[in-house]
Amino acid sequence: MTALLPLDPDLVERARRLAAQAGQPVVDLARSRTTLSVERATLRLAGLTGADPDGIPWVNRLVDAVADQTGIEHGAALPVFHALAQGNHPDLTRLAHASAAGGVKFELPTGGAAETARGLARAAVGTGFDRIDAQRRARADMVARIGDPPQRPWIYLIVATGDIYEDMPQAQAAARAGADIIAVIRSTGQSLLDYVPEGATREGFAGTYATGENFRLMRSALDETSREVGRYVRLCNYASGLCMPEIAALAGMNRLDMMLNDCMYGILFRDINPIRTFVDQRFSRQIHARAGIIINTGEDNYLTTADAVEAAHTVTVSQLLNEYFAHEAGLSDELLGLGHAFEINPELPESFRLELAHALLARQLFPDAPLKWMPPTKHMTGDVFRGNLLDGFFNLAGVMTGQSILLVGMMTEAVVTPWLSDRDIALQNVRYVLGAASGLAEDFRPPPDGFIANRANQVLGEAVDLLGRIRDDGLLNAIADGTFGIMKRPADGGRGLEGVAERADDYFNPAGEALESSEEEAR
């Protein structure tokens, strides 16, 4: 849509420059480190699947064994494929079995042996990338043949019963009822598991576990429904938490279309170590770029803990940081589902105009990004009638400001997980607003010196000020000081730091190598 706000282009450029300056040291830090999960993701790409009788995945068993014997600072691939090259184990899986039984000694090869191991490792992860590339082509083919949703915003609905076999028919029903994107919410607490559960799962808490097999099952159910309803129904899950890189790899190989993947969410809201998060995130975003997966960032979350007016500029700051990190990892604007939310206290005078100002600011700062517009949650009180009205205004703001992905708000937010009827009423609300006002954006021209324009400029100005402070303090210090969402998260605190290692000079990771070069090609 055309630019509606008189934003100062120099100020916008300054904001981006500051975000890059604030982010650069963190990228340097990420490039010089690896994590247990990055190494496990590499072995997943190389084809290692399955779990031991206790449900601990073989990738965990194998990487833990390598970590004990050689450390992960050289990368797991070199010792693992060197061991495989000895010829005593026919494949990675049986090497993992033998290793778990204590029968494998891992060591770092040198010279020709190292070359052999590197060659084997590159070929093995190549099969994983072939799967990812084939899935990307399959998506493009299906979209070309079946088509995208006829309207924008795309309608995003959440399904989560805990049982993948219940989720599938529910997701199919939601797609038939109008959903363009199905998100399967994860089981509460999965982000804190340092392994990805294996296989199809039927039990979860307030959500369903993200597993490779659950991904495959749900994608295949939605492929069937996509053909039936005549539009490609996208599938969304979460690449977050301690296993972010592995889940990204599983998503790429099983044709997930969108993944929640925020640069700071795990740090702030799950107390995962900041360094672990930034290292894992870079690798996962590189995989998303390769797989053509749209990432969804989580700025809406800041507004659930902080005040949506006072903290409006922290959303902009986080969007700019997410954009910088995403571009650096090779994601194009079309894959950048930056988040924001309708969370201003409805008791506040002119709250709707403030929402319009914030939503337009995001739209104009990121014109080519598929922005994700998130519904009210914080001020949903249990009064379902008022909630339905608020969701209607949320939908209207989304239409007026040209949002790309609309997460359907539920009037029963904060009361129950959505009932069948709640979802139906919510979709009716969306359809009414889209039907009644889908072209309203054409007529909506806020005056350049009016309330909305002034508010947007004020938020941008505050964002630039904050970015300046973050650049001067360092992003890690800013996170430690509680700049985002009020949570204070020091760089040496939180979960998962013990799984981070500084890369040695001979660090080798065939997946990282391939991802860096596909990023180069994309540039």
Binding site: T188, G189, F205, A206, D271, T304, D307, K378, L420, S421
Partner: protein
């Protein structure tokens, strides 16, 4: 004054209520008949099916109005009434300063897998809720907010280390009664760690709790929906500073 009441539509005593529900049947005449029969069994006289709409092929959503037959005797209603005076932040600060002579320490957390800090933050963060500032705003309170997904042993250790006067635990998102299990586990852990006279006041809160269940859960107080920081601060002062206000 009558202590027996019925729901009120637009005339005293009309008993009118509105309910909505979904039946797992396709939308047809039989479905509407089934909805009317259900309404009658729910105790509604002259139920009117004012709205019936198919949801997909196999479900129908209904909105029903009718007169509830049931009566409520207000004298037989059991609730936990506030049994302490509501104080302003200044009154709280003054009382703590005068009678305790040191800052009153509150340690708060969401325990178990619950990652939703909205409840504990509403009570503790300076931002507060419903126009009231949170406990961090009270000059004479020292607040340690441990945030989300805190393990019970970690909470106990921290409460010991901080010499907490009170421990506040919030449980918002809960399934299969996890909030009750977590609360009992927490209460048991504190009982094990400390003799009764040293144990901090244990307070839990969240929308799913029954305020009458404090004794059964092993805690001192349960707060439910609609609790404000002022309610909590007043209660803490009432319990911890025992001398009556002069």
């Amino acid at each position: 004054m009558t202590r027996i009441v019925r729901p009120y539509g637009d005339t005293t005593g009309d008993g009118m209520v509105q309910v909505s529900f979904t039946l797992p049947v396709p939308h047809d005449k039989r479905a509407e008949g089934a909805a009317a029969q259900l309404a009658a069994k729910m105790g509604l006289d002259n139920a009117m099916i004012v709205h019936a709409k198919a949801i997909g092929a196999g479900h129908t959503f209904f909105v029903v109005y009718g007169a509830a037959r049931h009566l409520v005797d207000l004298d037989e209603v059991e609730v936990v009434e506030r049994d302490y005076p509501l104080l302003s932040p200044k009154e709280v600060n003054d009382l703590v300063k005068e009678r305790l002579g040191r800052k009153l320490c509150v340690v708060g957390a969401c325990i178990g897998t619950d990652a939703h800090t909205v409840g504990i933050d509403a009570i503790l963060n300076i931002k507060g809720v419903a126009g009231e500032k949170g406990l961090e705003y009270y000059r004479e309170l020292r607040v340690v907010n441990l945030g989300a997904q805190v393990a019970v042993p970690e909470l106990v250790n921290r409460a010991l280390k901080e010499e907490a006067d009170a421990v506040l635990v919030s449980q918002v998102v809960t399934q299969k009664d996890a909030h009750l299990h977590n609360t009992r586990e927490m209460a048991a852990a504190f009982r094990e760690a400390l003799p009764p006279e040293k144990r901090p006041l244990l307070v839990v809160g969240g929308p799913r709790f029954d305020e009458r269940a404090a004794a059964e859960l092993g805690v001192d107080r349960v707060f439910s929906r609609g609790t404000t920081p002022g309610d909590v601060a007043s209660y803490l002062v009432h319990r911890i500073i025992k001398e009556p206000v002069a």
